[in-house]
Amino acid sequence: MKRKKRLQDLIGWLAPFFGLILVLAIFSSIPEIQDRFLRIANFKSVATQSVIVALGALGMTLIIISGGIDLSAASNLALSGVIVAYAISAGIHPVVALFCGIVTGGLIGFVNGSLITSLRLVPFIVTLGMLGIARGIAKWIAGNQKIDAPLTWVNELMTRNPRPSWLLLAPGVWLMIFLALVMAVVLRYTVFGRHVFAVGSNEAAARLCGIRTNRTKIMIYSIAGLFCGLSGVMQFSRLTVGDPTVAVGLELDIIAAVVIGGGSLSGGEGSILGSMIGVFIMAFLRNGSTMMGWPNYIQEIIIGAIIVVAVSLDQIRHRRER
């Protein structure tokens, strides 16, 4: 009995891995693209492409575990990118510009969290509003067009051929890996991490045990906002311009990654590892489909189906537990 349970736990933990391995196995077994798909350069480029969604997913994982949702992630990211471009084009030192972008993201998150807790509104509504507000502000600041900024080292964050070459991966990718590790540690080994799970699992119980649930929530949304800000910086680095219309709908990709990775929209469940795997499942699917020459709509259909399949498998597993 006990061994069976442990096996179930193991399967549950590995389930997202299976998904990723399956995707990799399928594409690497197709002869037409095998060579190109399995090349290291390809993996590098997928990693680089994943950075923006992955950074967003780190914050989104916290939010979803706490039982919330953030629909404003992509707008926030676009706004932060515009702020960076604006600052650099205004001649401000790139370090300060980066800082401004990230802080903007954090500020938007803080406002989200404050509104959710003080007005007692559901996160869906507050962040739906912020989706429009942040996007609007971005367009306003950018004067409804792209902001050109002079090339600086900021644009090297997302390059496929990093200098010095011993870095192997773009600085942005290393940053993503580092932050993923940090967040995994935070969730697992800190008091704050426990409180995030507690708020999502049973908010009333958490409050009764003396957890300042409002403060915890504001922190969660602020941290997620900071990640969106950083993600915006990466977006700017890749585009080399501040585009206020970039990443429309990307919040859904971010949410999908978390959900594929085992996050539960009713709270209490989710993991950084799972979310990162979710990001890479989607990234490799896109990458492989493009190589196959499949049109965009095929990719959309496949990813849509994967979301439903992944979540229903997760549900079946849970029902068994009970």
Binding site: Y189, F192, R194, F197, S201, N202, L208, C209, G268, E269
Partner: protein, 503 residues
């Protein structure tokens, strides 16, 4: 704990008054609790037990009266403050975070950390000590709470309360969903807690159990404190006498009705949420009462019959058609109507109009080519409002603005409107005033006289005795006995429902 003072008074509640709107839930109640005793709080449903302990724990505020805890004024503004002062409520699962592990739950809000990093080893040691205190060291610390049995969850809650240095534990119906073994384990824990000087307020309907664990008792009835004393000096019969009291004879209008043939029969029926198989025959023109305690399995039976829970075994026969699986939609077609005990959440669409609620289960009279005849529907609703004496401004009025009694009439009218022949009524008179109650009884009689069959679940014995043709008593999922009301009385019903033995 304080050996120089044997049994000092730990808690004093004096002249506690509490009203909800026009109803007086507590009327000058006094309550005293000694250190290290188990004090049973007894009374029928709605007697005010829950209100009293909610005031003690800080979930409610009394209108008048004072509380002294260890000779200091006790007026907690929230359950959190109540816990900090040493009063912990033990619910069944409400207060645990299901996804967190046992250790995480027990240490929630009291994490030991350095620089924000949890000191897992130290916490585990403490949790192990706490589980040792409640004599359950075998519970694994790393298992999510949702995977534990209900009994084990309760142990976790008790361990958490002890961790907070609880002086008073309030247990509200702690054994109602526990197996016999788990209950016995709980009683052992309670004994150990007493030795450690923890006081326990124990609320339960299972009187034999109460006699086993409690040292003293207080009986509440209709918000008043009736009596209190030592458990040893009081017999079961006396307790029941106190609880039931000399009730004012209520109006039970008798409507002539004759019992016909069997309309609904249950053959070894077992549903996914039922605890045991049930066999039962219900006749045309019969009102069959189902008595028992909350959680005895009556609601689950009705829900299984109406296909809200799935049928696992056995079958249901209506007239001559036998079936087992199905959906509520099919049941309605077969002539059944179900009245939920939870009017607010399940019985009615509170934010919709009276008309919508009334006609929801049967739109066909107003339907033409898929369009609803709104005017016709409103007129029909107006008829029902008059027929059922519902106090409402118009059929368009939204249901949440009606009083409880009138809401219930709307829910009942829906069953009549859908022309159900078999009525499954779950606590139809819960939370409604006396006049409405008496009207509900009268309709039930009239329906029976028209040949309808009624299954009537109630936790209020006098009304069962007043209007039923037969009364079946449930105890832990099983029917103990079925007899006509002339062969039951409140005492024997109470004994059967609380002990499972028919006198």
């Amino acid at each position: 704990m304080q050996q120089n003072q044997p049994c000092p008074i730990l808690l004093q509640m004096k002249n506690i008054n509490k009203s909800f709107g026009a109803t007086r839930a507590l009327d000058n109640v006094d309550f005293e609790l000694k250190t290290g005793e188990v004090h049973a709080l007894l009374g029928e449903n709605g007697a005010g037990k829950s209100t009293l302990v909610k005031i003690l724990s800080g979930a409610l505020k009394q209108d008048e009266g004072s509380m002294l805890l260890e000779n200091f004024r006790h007026s907690p503004s929230s359950p959190l403050e109540g816990r900090k002062k040493g009063v912990s409520m033990i619910y069944q699962e409400l207060n645990l975070a299901p996804h967190l592990t046992v250790e995480e739950n027990i240490m929630l809000g009291k994490e030991i950390h350095s620089w924000g990093f949890v000191q897992r080893k130290e916490m585990k040691r403490r949790v192990r000590d706490a589980l040792e205190l409640v004599h359950h060291p075998e519970i694994s610390l790393d298992i999510p709470v949702r995977k534990l049995s209900i009994g084990a969850r309760q142990v976790v809650e008790i361990a958490r309360a002890l961790m907070e240095k609880a002086k008073i534990l309030v247990m509200d119906e702690p054994t109602s969903s526990l197996s016999q073994e788990d209950s016995d384990l709980l009683f052992q824990i309670i004994k150990k807690l007493k030795v450690q000087g923890v006081s326990i307020i124990y609320i339960s309907h299972f009187l034999e159990e109460v006699q086993r664990v409690a040292d003293s008792f207080t009986v509440l009835r209709d918000g008043k404190e009736i009596c209190s004393g030592n458990m040893e000096d009081t017999s079961l019969e006396e307790l029941i006498q106190h609880m039931v009291g000399q009730k004012v004879k209520e109006m039970f209008p008798q409507v002539e009705h004759t019992i016909g043939e069997v309309l609904l029969s249950l053959d070894k029926l077992m549903g996914s949420k039922m605890q045991a198989e049930v066999e039962l025959n219900l006749h045309c023109g019969e009102i069959l009462g189902l008595a028992g305690l909350i959680g005895a399995g009556r609601t689950e039976l009705l829900r299984t019959i109406f296909a809200l829970d799935s049928v696992e075994q056995g079958s249901i026969k209506v007239a001559d058609v036998r079936f087992s699986k199905g959906t509520p939609w099919q049941r309605i077609k077969q002539g059944m109507g179900f009245l939920s005990e939870d009017r607010q959440r399940e019985g009615l669409a509170l934010s919709r109009s009276l008309t919508d609620n009334l006609t929801l289960s049967n739109f066909s009279p107003y339907c033409r080519f898929g369009f609803l005849g709104l005017k016709k529907r409103n007129e029909a609703a107006q008829d029902w409002i008059q027929k059922m004496k519902i106090k409402a401004r118009s059929p368009e009025q939204r249901v949440f603005s009606l009083s409880g009694g009138n809401q219930q009439k709307v829910a009942l009218a829906r069953l009549l409107h859908q022309r159900a022949d078999i009525l499954l009524l779950d606590e139809p008179t819960r939370g409604i005033d006396v006049v409405s109650k008496s009207q509900v009884y009268e309709w039930m009689g009239q329906l029976a006289s028209r040949g309808k069959a009624i299954l009537f679940v109630s936790s209020y014995f006098p009304e069962l005795l007043g209007i039923c043709d037969r009364i079946a008593v449930f105890y832990r999922g099983q029917i103990i006995d079925i007899r006509p009301p002339s062969e039951w009385n409140t005492e024997s019903l109470m004994v059967a429902a609380t002990t499972g033995k028919a006198l």
